[in-house]
Symmetry: C2
Subunit: 353 residues, 2 copies
């Protein structure tokens, strides 16, 4: 059992890396980072387990649900994600041995760590997306047979529901509409499974990955990030248009970027649903989900989330190959371009560019 520790000085690297891997979504982890720092200030360090040995151990996912723009406005409290876990444990009569992030992108990289600090339950180094995605069923757990139900959803007032959907889509639909009713954000505990299934199905070592990428970005070593992830620069330019609406609990829209330097006279459009989905010029599709599209500030190389996009920003757009577990035929049914309503075949970025 390999273990390492996250300390207060690691948090900025973690949140920067998680913003990058969030592919524009998952919410700005800044506030989550502050909350995590407060926990680590009193606790000193937090244990991350890389390869738990017990196959029978019970792992549970911990996350916030909602449109990122709402999650940013309603400052989360650190005790609510813990409460969702406790309710799960009580209602399901299950001891929770490990906590896992559902997604590594954005605020949901820090929420499970805060839950871990609050409960003392150790966290596993992995997640169900290797990035961020907008819907609950969009996890490698689900693609390979683990159900998100039973799931607990909890709000800051104290309202709770336990959801048992007939499949991942229905679990998502029910949880999403409850989230909307709760005011746009909620705390969830879901995807309970044993460690054997977890190790087989999760995208592993993503907390480590976020920490490493974050450290490189904070050191302004974008080239090394690109090398490490086999990523490519797709575009450089200035944001000239942002269209965004919150609809059915999602932040949906697109951004238009006018090229500069070698991209002069070209424009790039990126559509998003919480996360960036598809990047295209007038006559060419450059990247689609599940590959990651990341928008960085041209000057400080920090990731910009879809909710922070605004007119005039100068940006670099990066394309990153998704983890192989997101690229199987099974996975693409749930997270390929067609799953988001685009009549487009997925062509891996590394085969396209």
């Amino acid at each position: 059992m390999e273990t390492y520790y996250i300390r207060i000085n690691d948090v900025d690297n973690l949140t920067t890396g998680a913003s990058f891997l969030g592919s524009g979504g998952g919410g700005d982890p800044y506030i989550g980072g502050l909350m995590l720092k407060r926990e680590l200030k009193s606790k000193g360090e937090l244990e991350i387990i890389r390869r738990p040995k017990s196959n029978k151990a019970f792992v549970l996912g911990s996350a916030m649900m909602g449109a990122p723009i709402v999650m940013i406005e309603k400052i989360p409290s650190s005790s609510e994600a813990k409460k969702a876990l406790e309710i799960y444990s009580y209602v399901m009569n299950k001891l929770i041995d490990y906590i896992t992030p559902l997604e590594i992108g954005g605020v949901n990289s820090t929420i499970p760590l805060i839950t871990s600090a609050k409960t003392g339950i150790p966290i596993v180094d992995g997640d169900g997306m290797g990035r961020a995605f907008p819907e609950l069923q969009m996890t490698t757990f689900y693609f390979y047979g683990v159900s998100p139900s039973p799931m607990v959803i909890f709000d800051e007032r104290g309202n709770t529901s336990v959801i048992q959907g007939i499949d991942g889509y229905w679990t998502e639909k029910i949880a999403r509409i409850i989230t909307v009713r709760f005011g746009g954000s909620a705390y969830i505990a879901l995807y309970g499974m044993n460690m054997e299934d977890y190790l087989k199905n999760a995208v592993l070592d993503t907390l480590t990955l976020a920490l490493e990428i974050g450290e490189l970005l904070n050191d302004k070593k974008l080239d090394q990030v690109l090398d490490k992830l086999k990523a490519e620069i797709l575009f450089k330019g200035k944001v000239i248009d942002v269209y965004r609406k919150v609809e059915k609990g999602f932040s949906k829209g697109y951004v238009v970027i006018e090229g500069i330097e070698s991209y002069y006279n070209k424009t790039l459009q990126i559509d998003f649903q919480n996360e960036f989905l598809i990047a295209r010029t007038n006559n060419e599709i450059l990247v689609t989900v599940p590959d990651l599209i990341v928008v960085l500030d041209l000057f400080n190389q920090k990731p910009i989330t879809t909710d922070r996009l605004k007119y005039g920003q100068k940006v670099i757009v990066i394309g990153v190959p998704a983890n192989e577990k997101l690229r199987t035929e099974e996975a693409l049914k749930y997270i390929g371009p067609k799953a988001f309503g685009y009549n487009i075949e997925y062509i891996p970025i590394d085969k396209r560019l």
Copy 2:
């Protein structure tokens, strides 16, 4: 412990009486009546308990939730309400000794009887409204301290949630939006309590009342119904306008009736939210919730639900004093005119007419 039995020949009386007490809402019990007849055909009779002796016995409410117009269109299956009860029993680890209707009006008079027939759990002669109301917290159970949560909500696909709201309003809000997501109707099990609380808080003997009223109406003895309930004829006329929309899971609107006979040259407007709420002429309020407004076909004296109203119907409008448990200061907070958004004081119909 007083007991009586409902047999197949009683069902038409029950559904007619429940339509009357539904005050226009609760859904047309015709289909529920057919389902109940099918159960009684195989089972022979169903035991109704008037005054269970055991104070510790556990009682649970069984109902359908949703806009009546949807409940009519999606023909309910008799096994789904049973399933909601079973899930409650399993999740809460509670044996259910008795089933109670939540409301006596409309389809929810027959659903609990069907559940009783399917499960073998006897039914108590009472309910939480003594009529029908559109929202979950509008029960005498809630006015006097019993919580609707935990509640189970279940759809015909097999989706389930267990809801624990912080109060009756939040339980209603969460259940309502899930019902909308389910397509407009759902099966619910809620208001678990012991028999001591039940006997103190319920409107008692309402299944008996529905049977008696239904028998009189089916025998065309409207005068005797009016005598029995201390009710009054408010108006006779022809429906000249119906405005109706399904909004947020409710059937909302109003009907305008043009007077005939001694009401010639007058018009009556009745507003509704699933149930009739307020009846008024141009210059006078005649009846408001919680007193009952009932619209009967002028010729056959059968109740007309808000969803069956249409241009040209000739009708008699009746006003019925509500049960005293609905008229206390505590109850009026939840079911008086103000609870439905009208800036009107409640004046009991028997003090007004």
